[in-house]
């Protein structure tokens, strides 16, 4: 999908105004004629205003019988797509990953950006009738700090203290300055719950729906919350989410009319849906990317920069995009910042597939052994295939590679973060700094390749503390260029996420963080008549 199509979709969903659409399209180089065509098509779609009522039936992959409605435990699409219907965040991720008001109406940084003040929405009530206050916000944030099992614990460790500074105001102080802190609060785990909540089997939130039925790994069923505070969303009477983990079964359910929309369309069949009358494919270019870690410990083989370079030049990234992603993706530059990010280094050249250069560096490295790539489909569907492709690629450069298919069971605990060369993935983060920090920061618990380079660390620290967006951008440019050459990992490709619907679903727009409009389709979407 082109940038302009992307903007059109946002406009149709009411996410950006007409002026912004035309302005951004012109900035992308659209001619006057093209702009008039855009206006005409947009007028044709003007009738597409949200409609109240109806039930949306979703077939969502990425759920398990071990799921729960406790936001701290969410780790996949069903958890978030179901959970977002019932619980709301302080701050939302809007178009272009901008921080947007949620239950926090406004916010500002105190000078120095180590303290942030958040003003909360007034008069919002929970499903049980209780009014949402600063106490609830403090409690909800603290659920993800300190001794906790929350997946947000890592990013929230930057928080020093959360204080109530008014009935509808909280102040958060940080261990170090962070110019983009509101983005941290958009973490999908951090949802507002009433103070003192410990039992999530009877969930209470402020969301557009109340729980009408919940069977982990089977079904999430919600009905409209009559007291919902927002008027610009929550159009559906109800939604019915069926967990369908098998990609073929998901497609079949859409085709046989049993669900209205599905996520994670297999790239192999994406074109089929596009060609099928009545069905629509929604392509979201985002931050999801594949990673092959090259653990860089002292004395380990990947400490050798030339061996890393041999692999960087030896793998065929285009082939990964073409073969494994069916063309729905883009090649990676061995840094984790996606193209859509405002801080993406546009000056960087792609790392071309060059067996001769790889051969040259392999010779220079003096490495004569075998590299074993550990891979499992537990990481992502196609992870083993990708390792197999690289095995073939690198053989041409003279590097012997073994592919070890690891069992899905125990992959995250026994292989990931432990093996020297492991295939895994990263989902996108709201900001570039955050992405670099969690995956490659010194001492970051998930720095899977144990990447360490004093120069990179210095750049990262500078970027984090920088409050000026322009200056931050140039620092991040430099960090990306450094990684591309040096980082102890291969980042071969970014994958688009693919959703599909039967033409009756309104408001399903491309989103950059996760599928189904950043998991908020039940809240922001509607059913057409």
């Amino acid at each position: 999908m082109s940038q302009i199509e992307y903007l059109q979709k946002l406009h149709r969903a009411g996410r950006i105004g007409r002026r912004e659409l035309l302005g951004r399209a012109a900035a992308l180089g659209a001619s006057a004629t093209a702009l008039s065509v855009i206006i005409a098509t947009e007028d044709a779609h003007a009738a597409e205003t949200p409609r109240r009522g109806g039930t949306m039936r979703l077939g969502i992959g990425g759920g398990s019988t071990t799921d729960s409605l406790d936001p701290a435990t969410w780790n996949d699409s069903v958890g978030t797509t179901g959970g977002f219907a019932f619980f709301e965040p302080l701050i939302e991720t809007g178009a272009g990953n901008a921080a947007q008001p949620g239950l926090a109406a406004s916010w500002e940084a105190k000078p120095g950006a180590t303290e942030w003040v958040f003003n909360l929405q007034k008069g919002v009530t929970f499903h049980n009738g209780k009014t949402f206050t600063a106490d609830d916000a403090v409690y909800s944030i603290n659920l993800h700090r300190g001794k906790t099992k929350s997946g947000a614990a890592g990013v929230f460790s930057a928080i020093m203290d959360v204080k109530k500074t008014g009935d509808n105001q909280i102040t958060i102080s940080l261990k170090a300055a962070d110019g983009e802190f509101p983005a941290v609060l958009t973490d999908y785990h951090c949802r507002m719950v009433p103070e003192g909540t410990t039992d999530f089997t009877k969930p209470v939130g402020t969301g557009a729906f109340t729980v009408a039925g919940y069977q982990p790994g089977v079904r999430v069923h919600g009905t409209r919350n009559p007291n919902y505070w927002r008027k610009d969303r929550g159009f559906l009477d109800a939604f019915d989410l069926t967990v369908i983990n098998d990609s073929t079964a998901r497609l079949n359910a859409l085709m046989s009319g049993q669900v209205d929309t599905i996520n994670r369309v297999d790239a192999k069949v994406a074109n089929l849906i596009k060609a099928k009358k009545g069905y629509e494919l929604v392509v979201s270019p985002g931050g999801w990317h594949t990673v092959v870690s090259l653990m860089q410990d002292k004395g380990a083989m990947f400490e050798n920069h030339d061996l890393r370079l041999a692999m960087k030049y030896g793998i065929d990234r285009e082939q990964v995009v073409k073969t494994l992603m069916g063309g729905y993706g883009s090649v990676g530059f061995d840094h984790p910042i996606p193209r859509g990010d405002a801080n993406f280094n546009t000056a960087l050249k792609p790392i071309a597939h060059d067996p001769d250069k790889a051969k040259f560096h392999l010779k220079k490295s003096g490495f004569a052994g075998t590299v074993t790539i550990q891979s499992s489909d537990a990481a992502f569907n196609g992870a083993v295939d990708m390792a197999t492709l690289f095995q073939g690629n690198l053989a041409k450069a003279g590097l012997k590679v073994d592919v070890k298919k690891e069992p899905a069971d125990g992959f995250w605990s026994n292989v990931w973060l432990k093996g020297a060369c492991v295939v895994s993935y990263w989902a996108g983060r709201t900001t570039a700094t955050q992405m670099l920090d969690v995956g490659y920061g010194p001492g970051a618990p998930w720095n899977e390749s144990h990447y360490q380079n004093p120069k990179f660390t210095a750049l990262l620290n500078a970027a984090r503390a920088e409050l000026d967006a322009g200056k931050r951008k140039s620092i991040l440019f430099e960090a990306q260029a450094l990684m591309s050459d040096d980082v102890a990992a291969l980042i071969p490709a970014f994958r688009n996420s693919l959703d599909a619907h039967n033409g009756k679903v309104g408001g399903l727009v491309p989103a950059s963080l996760s599928d189904m409009d950043n998991s908020a389709i039940t809240v922001r979407g509607w059913m057409k008549a």
Binding site: T65, S68, S150, A153, P216, V218, T242, N252, P445
Partner: protein, 315 residues
């Protein structure tokens, strides 16, 4: 004979107990641990330790076994480690679903298999015999998910006869349930009929070679009468044994079919629980499967005893 049956029952109970030890020990051997499995790639050493303590994983194994088995005997299967729901509550609807699908498939497949097998034995080497043989071979030589996908492709997506999702809900009526589970049932029937039908045919034909059958023929009885009245009752033991194996498969081994049709049965629960190391759920599922299996085998043994006059006396 009664003594023989009682003896088998006692053995069955002992087997259940032994199985429980094996299940508990087996789950202890699983690689990885629940805390990291739940947290996936958002695990840090601190929150892993916190989660382990919260789940009680830091106590010795024998203590946990004793606690588990005594509670299980009273019907308390514990709390799911990953979502804090009582395991029994979570198992009950899925167990009902699994039994429903298994019963549905068994009601169709067992009579069908025995009938087809007997007819094949009676009309041995006829065109009918060959055709049935060929078709059943074809159905078992294709992976079950391919059979399922093909049924969905034609019967559901293309012709719209049956739903492709078997997402049964508690509020469904029996008729709706039968409609929703029709395709998974058909898939399972295609998978299990061949084995039972072929065993029926082989066992009956085996008996047909016995001298007493020749005697029956010499008396001038028709072939169908000989097969049904004389050969079949004597061929029952291996047939029952195979039927019991297949019934157990219908309840325990249908993970793949459940995945294809998104059917909320026990298999999917067990696979998810193994992947997430939700030990209470794995153990409860294992125990239930073990009981079902041991019970079916007991029934098969007892029926084999009843069906064979020579075994009817106690030794």
């Amino acid at each position: 004979m009664l003594r023989l049956v009682m003896l088998r029952l006692a053995f069955g109970a002992m087997t259940v107990l032994a199985a429980s030890v094996l299940i508990f020990a087996g789950t202890e051997l699983l690689p990885g641990d629940l805390a990291t499995a739940i947290l996936q790639n958002s695990a840090t050493p601190e929150n892993v330790a916190e989660m382990r303590a919260q789940l009680g994983l830091d106590r010795p194994a024998p203590v946990r076994y004793a606690e588990w088995i005594s509670h299980a005997a009273q019907g308390d299967l514990g709390i799911s480690l990953s979502n804090q729901h009582p395991v029994a509550e979570e198992l009950a609807p899925r167990l009902r679903n699994s039994f429903f699908l298994a019963a549905f498939a068994a009601c169709v497949s067992v009579p069908l298999a025995v009938l087809l097998g007997l007819l094949a034995a009676i009309y041995q080497n006829s065109w009918y015999d060959r055709a049935v043989n060929f078709i059943t071979l074809l159905t078992i030589s294709v992976p079950e998910y391919l059979v399922g996908y093909l049924l969905v492709k034609y019967l559901s997506v293309r012709w719209g006869l049956f739903p492709s999702l078997a997402n049964v809900a508690p509020e469904n009526t029996l008729l709706e349930r039968l409609d929703l589970t029709f395709l998974p049932m058909l898939t399972l029937v295609l998978v299990v009929v061949a084995h039972m039908m072929r065993m029926t045919r082989a066992s009956v034909l085996n008996i047909m070679a016995s001298p007493y059958i020749e005697m029956a023929f010499l008396k001038g009885l028709t072939k169908s009468r000989v097969v049904v009245r004389h050969a079949f009752p004597n061929a029952l033991a291996p047939i029952i044994s195979v039927i019991a194996l297949n019934l157990a498969y219908l309840i325990v081994g249908v993970v793949v079919v459940e995945a294809v049709f998104v059917y909320p049965g026990l298999g999917q629960l067990l696979v998810d629980a193994v992947a997430k190391h939700d030990l209470p759920v794995v153990q409860a599922c294992g125990l239930i499967f073990a009981c079902v299996f041991i019970l079916l085998n007991l029934l098969a043994d007892i029926m084999a005893i009843l069906s064979n006059p020579r075994l009817r006396r106690a030794r």
